[in-house]
Amino acid sequence: MRKNQVAVVGAAETTELGIIPNASQLQLHADAALNAIADAGLKLSDIDGFATAVETPQQVCHYLGIKPTWVDGTSVGGCSFMLHVRHAAAAIEAGLCKTVLITHAESGKSMIGKLPRSTPADSLNGQFEAPYGVYGPPSMFPIPVLRFMKTYGITHEQLASVAVVQREWAAKNPRAMMKEPITVADVLNSRMIAYPFRLLQCCLVTDGGGALILTSADRARDFPRKPVYIMGTGESVETPMVSQMETFNSSRAFKTAGPLAFREAGIAHEDVDHLMIYDAFAHLPLFGLGDLGFMPYEETGKFIADGNTRPGAKLPLNTNGGGLSYMHSGMYGMYALQESVRQMRGIAPAQVPNATISVCHGVGGMFAASGTIVFTNER
């Protein structure tokens, strides 16, 4: 795909984030969509392309009153929205539609109108993982981490520092769920969830949503907001079964999607001013830093523990506080994208000064899928 041909011209989260007991999941989609449409200065009737995950496009389009000529229901977990951005950019370039709305919402905490997640007993996961006591992401997502730690000499303290640093970012963000400062000792003394991970190394469970609007870069100049261009994109999937990953020393999906986006954007790692790595659990930023090629895996834990991703440091990472401290409704990818767009617009609560390139890397399932978007505010 050619770089900088498509731009984000509308971006918004739900009016509220956190615990929202007065709205269904479907209404949260609508709330985010209406906020994004207002942000872009558009009317509903201007939307001719639509993408969402978990909820079907027909469900959300009908509820909103949108009549699309292009839809994408790619649903590969929390990074689905990175894939939607990539697919929407391709569709706009191909002339299939002009103005795409992408929505996410999840009543992850309040569970109002939330679709049930189940594992059929005759699926491969149902036969070869469920009988061994996996029960929700905390029991599955951290399964690779002990091997990763042993291979690369990563310590428990380094993995705890991921949560500590992200809380520093969250403290600067009025909309973050958790803002109280924490220490490595606090993390290592929080209650055990699934060894080696404790409560503060696991993502929050909240309600919320977000929406993006994309159009061609040529049209983007006429919109009220500063356009944020899609500079590079990548995607991949590996396996729905964490036990069947090729290796626990890296993620094949990350290693495919990330470098693809860097190549398409034509950037080097030192060009990156701002970085988001979807952090459902504390090990993901380490996998991301290694798989995206920022540094050898052995250095990832020390890099974060030494403060290199803190506010004011050389590689600002997860600047909204991340899934660990900002919010995590279940599919966090949309919130990572929203933060990248805010940083490129120059309006983030913890703004990185003069940032021109933002890399936003997402995971779906338990390392099952991945999507990476490189954004820029310069064309």
Partner: protein, 137 residues
């Protein structure tokens, strides 16, 4: 009300041989006749070269502890926490999720790379699960 039960696998035509094997006290894997790739989970073709000529064979049942978590909360139905959810790498190459029996469910006892051997745990008259225990000797 009955006690909540551990999730029970339901075989499909492609996996029936595996569950027949565990019931008979065998851990069965598949090997590609064309490229010799050994793979899991079961399917009637090779995921490496796409050949449909594949054979079922009895694996050694030996392997090592590749990685694990010790789950504390929330616990799956039928499990008493803390319990380890492990991934075992078999000597033949494939990995599978399992539980480790006859071993304290602690980080001290569960050493990565420890040698393991298969054991079989009957859930009912249809399904027997392969689990692993520390290898003797």
């Amino acid at each position: 009300m009955a006690e909540p039960q551990r999730a029970r696998p339901k075989p499909t035509p492609e996996t029936q041989h595996f569950w027949d094997g565990t019931k008979a006290g065998e851990l069965r894997l598949q090997r590609c006749d064309a490229c010799a790739h050994v793979y899991f989970p079961p399917r009637p073709f090779c995921p490496s070269c796409a050949s449909r000529k594949v054979s079922i064979f009895k694996a050694s049942g030996k392997g090592f502890l590749y990685s694990y978590v010790i789950n504390h909360r929330p616990a799956a139905p039928g499990f008493t926490p803390p319990y380890a959810i492990a991934v075992v790498e078999l000597d033949e190459g494939p990995r599978m999720m399992s539980n480790i029996i006859d071993c304290p469910q602690t980080p001290e006892a569960l050493e990565l790379d420890m040698k393991l051997e298969v054991a079989f745990q009957a859930l009912d008259d249809k399904i027997t699960l392969p689990v692993f225990r520390p290898a003797k000797g």
